[in-house]
Amino acid sequence: MTGSNGFSVSGYGPERSSLSRLFARDSLARRLDWPILFSAIALSLIGAALVYSATRNRTELNQGDPYYFLFRHLLNTGIGFALMIGTVWLGHRTLRTAVPILYGLSVFLILLVLTPLGATINGAHAWIVIGGGFSLQPSEFVKITIILGMAMLLAARVDAGDKPYPDHRTVLQALGLAAVPILIVLLMPDLGSVMVMVIVVLGVLLASGASNRWVFGLIGAGALGAIAVWQLKILDEYQINRFAAFANPELDPAGVGYNTNQARIAIGSGGLFGTGLGKGSQTTGQFVPEQQTDFVFTVAGEELGFVGAGLILVLLGIVLWRACRIARETTELYGTIVAAGIIAWFAFQSFENVGMTLGIMPVAGLPLPFVSYGGSSMFAVWVAVGLLQSIRVQRPMSA
């Protein structure tokens, strides 16, 4: 509280103090979507606690420092927060001009994964090792550039007032733009990311107002593609097993079945209030694999119980609910499409991640937004939050 008269002079005028300007009716602070921001921060902090609980005993991973992962998770959150601020400061419209560069950069990065620079972590060849203990998962950033790229193409003529809906040619271009990175990611293969991207493309098309034929055509093509992949054995054995075993753990009791089974036991044994942070026997005994990343929700289920795990779902729900509002409130199609793409991304990735720990979705290596440990994912989701905030902040006031 620096300005003592901050609230007394709440009118318009150049003489307003910085603080009162911040909270003025059309100020940045008033326009920011605080529920999304708070939910994202809360999710990141809960994630920090869960990551700490899952890794404090894992000396083989944390180099003897029980706080190693906690610190890194908080650091990632901080960097992500900064990226969000940068995104808001730049504004999504400014970024619109940089989309071709960003798109090209992200495609270049995922191409790098296919070179010897790429690394395989947890069966997914989706990483670039930078050195110094850092690695990058470029497919996380591709999710953003696909959204931005498609939005730019699809919204260009509509926002210019030329057409009410994007025409077939534009849609085709947009699909082509998405298809290039998706195919590359499929080659890695990072199946989880491919699934997310396909859903994102679907969400973007829906929001763009593209003809129903495109929407249903895409769904049909997706289904056909899945059948083709299944029948033509494009996937490796382990990937098919992973898909099948979630429904029937006995299919592969030592492998994927074991993971899903142990995950289910961990969550189920949590009960209403959980065992308390750091007290879960499944977590302490490391029965669930990848518990700080893909299976982080099991820690919440076991140690925080229905109340804690439910809170995570509620917070995710707030983020998505507000994002839907943002998508609806902005009158500019570009913003709507970007917001819808982000919604599709967050919603599907959360559903898939939590669903696989609950045994209702096949196991795929996807992080839980904000909660899972992982730099690339954390940066990407905070940039996405930045985009959402920017759309809200810069929405036309007349709407």
């Binding site: 926002d159 929001a207 026997s281 499944q282 795990a309 998505l320 709507t336 919603a347 006031m397 007349s398």
Partner: protein
């Protein structure tokens, strides 16, 4: 912002955005519902599964209790061997999975490093032996033959050998004190089967994979008491089996000790004398078959007459029960159970049944008196008795004229009993029995406890057989088809018999009753039944359940549960008849059929009573029976295909009595030399620490020193680290010899 053209929102996009929003919410709702289902609805189930997930049990087996003889000498106890084992859980915590430690250990033990490493790997389908197929949380034994020096090296440098333990462990040992191996009475152990584990899983005393279970004899009968309770420590483990905490720990409780009424010294005498008697019998020529007696098997029972306690019980052929320790080899198993083995595992004292011959005669004597015949008679003892042209001879066709029942017992006159039995048979209606047939001779046999187990505390006792009308009927029903098929009128002897049996095998024929009256025909008894009956005659008529177990003593010596003698009935005779029979049986020993075997016996000091029996078995040589008793003991011996009762078994039984009472050949009694002049009344002395006094067992026979070179008495090895662990059975009978030091010679009594 105003320079951006207002495009308006097309309803299509708005509707689709609402659809997206609904989709998103329903996805989240699905997750919430599933979360509720798992955590709240099925939470308990998963919590249970989780707790089973992370607890592992480590089992420390209980030390099996000892079986002691009446004076406290261990006849089955545990030998301490130094076992070096490695804990996998500890080894896996090391950087190289313990390879360095195991290599060092191999050097100390003088083994190859590879052998040691192979021993601690876990078995799976791809790993050949050696490998460990037990629980990975159980310490894995590397060797059970470590020397004291090696063990000390490992223990003193514990920091050099993390995860390695060198501890004395108990292994079953049948000590055979004074060479009394008592094999069939003790029985043996063998590993528990999967089936038994599954069956006992949810009971109060579940089996462990490593358990040994008593399979016969005392080991089986008192298995529950001897076994004790294994200790279980529950560890919380993580997914790799690394211990992260100890949940619960139950100490192992050693098994109780069973004190028996067996006296190892008497047991040794009984075993030795039985074997000698059989050896001697094989030198005797059998006129009937034209070859020497085969003496293929035999048994002897020494019983306390007033309690039914078994002082000695020997069965021949015998075997070394140590063959079972540590798993029996296939070769040994064939030797013990194969077709050519003559089945040494059988305890013929309770599982061998044969026709009793004349030792049976006390039963028809009592039956006749009960039927109203006078004991004094007189009854004609003719040289033969004929029924409808069929002639039944007296033994050696000798006649004694009119005599009393007592005299008939003394001289074992068959014709007296033929006549009485035949008369009773006729009175009961012959082949067409009256409705209220008295069947005195059969009823009395049942009242003597024949045709039924005596109830001895040893498993698998056989019942014998009283061939009464009911049995004949049942037996005929079961066999008539075979008889009628094989039988042929005027065919061979066997075919004729079958033919007759087919026609009227269900009927009690006159010949059957005559044969039965002298313990022939289809009558079957066991030595233990005879010992019980003669003990009852001695003690005034009480039929005791024979017992081997005398007391169960807890490992700390604090609780002593005595096994009291139990009776299963009284002999069906009056005091007077008992006295008359008693007198007659004394007469057998002094002037009757057994008199020549008891020459010089101090009858005035130790009245001896006896009955001889020579049973004929179709197609085989005669069975020798000898039943005897004094006021304190009864001794019953039988030798299959051994010759006459007094001839084959007489000297052995006399020698057993000589040893019991300290009687020398000239009839002098030396109570100092007597092994057990009076029956052992007291239990062995229990020390304050729970250990039980165990006196020495002298060699028998004393003159044959070289035969007893491996007695049970060796000084305790001073530097044996096993002594650091208190052994409740530590006594001067402890044997600390290594397995490899065991002489190659088998401790068989029959060769």
């Amino acid at each position: 912002m105003t320079n951006i053209p207002e495009t308006g929102r097309t309803p299509r996009v708005q509707i689709r955005l609402v659809v997206i929003q609904i989709l998103v919410l329903s996805l989240l709702g699905t997750l919430g519902g599933r979360l509720w289902y798992l955590q709240i609805r099925n939470g308990d189930e998963y919590a249970k599964e989780a707790s089973g997930n992370h607890v592992q049990q480590v089992v420390s087996p209980a030390v099996r209790g000892s079986i002691l003889d009446a004076r406290g000498v261990p006849i089955a106890d545990n030998e301490t061997r130094l076992v070096v084992s490695a804990s996998r859980t500890d080894l896996l915590k090391m950087k190289d999975d313990g390879d360095a430690v195991l290599t060092k250990l191999a050097r100390v033990l003088g083994l190859k490093a590879k052998d040691v490493l192979d021993k601690v790997r876990l078995c799976d389908s791809k790993t050949p032996q050696p490998c460990w197929n037990g629980s990975p949380y159980q310490p894995i034994p590397i060797t059970d033959e470590a020397t004291a020096k090696q063990a000390l090296q490992i223990r003193e440098r514990a920091e050099d050998f993390p995860g390695i333990t060198a501890e004395p462990m108990a292994v079953r040992r049948y000590a055979a004190p004074g060479e009394a191996n008592t094999a069939q009475v003790l029985g043996y152990l063998s590993p528990v089967t999967d089936e038994e584990i599954t069956k006992a899983k949810d009971t109060a005393s579940p089996y462990l994979r490593s358990d040994q279970v008593g399979r016969s004899g005392l080991e089986r009968e008192y298995d529950k008491e001897l076994r004790g309770k294994a200790g279980v420590t529950r560890y919380e483990v993580d997914n790799l089996g690394r211990v992260i905490g100890q949940a619960k720990s139950d100490e192992a409780q050693p098994g109780a000790n069973v004190v028996t009424s067996i006296d190892s010294r008497v047991q040794r005498v009984a075993e030795y004398e039985l074997n000698e008697a059989m050896k001697d019998a094989r030198d005797v020529f059998d006129d009937n078959t034209g070859e020497n007696y085969k003496a293929d098997s035999g048994a002897v029972v020494v019983m306390e007459a007033k309690t039914g306690r078994v002082v000695a019980m020997a069965s021949n052929p015998s075997y070394d029960p140590n063959a079972w320790v540590g798993g029996i080899s296939g070769k040994d198993y064939t030797k013990l159970t194969g077709k050519g083995s003559n089945y040494p595992l059988l305890n013929r004292a309770i599982q061998g049944q044969s026709a009793p011959g004349s030792v049976f005669k006390v039963i028809p004597t009592a039956a006749a008196v009960n039927a109203g015949y006078s004991f004094n008679g007189p009854y004609e003892c003719s040289s033969s008795y004929s029924i409808g042209g069929q002639v039944f001879n007296n033994f050696e066709s000798k006649g004694y004229g009119p005599i009393s029942l007592g005299r008939a017992l003394e001289v074992s006159c068959d014709t007296v009993f033929y006549r009485l039995s035949h008369e009773e048979w006729k009175r009961d209606g012959g082949t067409k029995p009256k409705k209220n047939a008295k069947d005195w001779f059969y009823k009395t046999a049942h009242q003597f406890g024949l045709g039924k187990e005596t109830g001895i505390d040893l498993p698998n006792e056989v019942a014998g057989r009283v061939p009464d009308r009911q049995w004949k009927q049942d037996y005929w029903k079961a066999n008539k088809d075979a008889w009628c098929k094989y039988g042929k009128k005027g065919g061979s002897y066997a075919q004729q018999i079958a033919y007759e049996n087919c026609l009227e095998g269900n009927r009690m024929r006159a010949g059957d009753s005559v044969n039965y009256s002298i313990g022939q025909g289809d009558t079957l008894v066991t030595p233990i039944q005879m010992a019980t009956i003669y003990s009852a005659i001695s003690n005034g008529g009480t039929l005791y359940d024979p017992t081997v177990g005398k007391a169960i003593i807890s490992p700390d010596g604090k609780t002593v549960q005595e096994i009291k003698p139990k009776s299963h009935g009284k002999l069906p005779m009056t005091r007077k008849t008992r006295d008359e029979i008693d007198g007659a049986l004394a007469g057998v020993a002094t002037r009757g059929t057994a008199a020549w075997r008891f020459g010089g016996w101090p009858q005035d000091k130790i009245p001896m009573h006896a009955k001889t029996g020579t049973a004929e078995v179709y197609g085989k040589q005669t069975t020798s029976w000898f039943t005897t008793y004094t006021k304190d003991y009864s001794v019953v011996m039988t030798i299959s295909q051994g010759g006459t009762g007094s001839g084959a078994s007489g000297p052995a039984v006399r020698n057993i009595y000589n040893a019991l009472y300290g009687v020398s050949e000239d009839g002098a009694i030396d109570k100092k030399k007597a092994l057990l002049y009076d029956p052992q009344k007291n239990l062995p002395k229990i020390e304050k620490d729970g250990s039980i006094d165990s006196p020495k067992v002298e060699k028998y026979p004393a003159k044959k020193e070289q035969a007893s070179e491996e007695g049970g008495q060796q000084p305790v090895n001073g530097d044996d680290p096993a002594a650091t662990v208190p052994d409740p059975n530590a006594g001067n009978n402890r044997d600390t010899r290594r397995r490899s030091a065991r002489p190659k010679k088998r401790r068989r009594t029959l060769t």
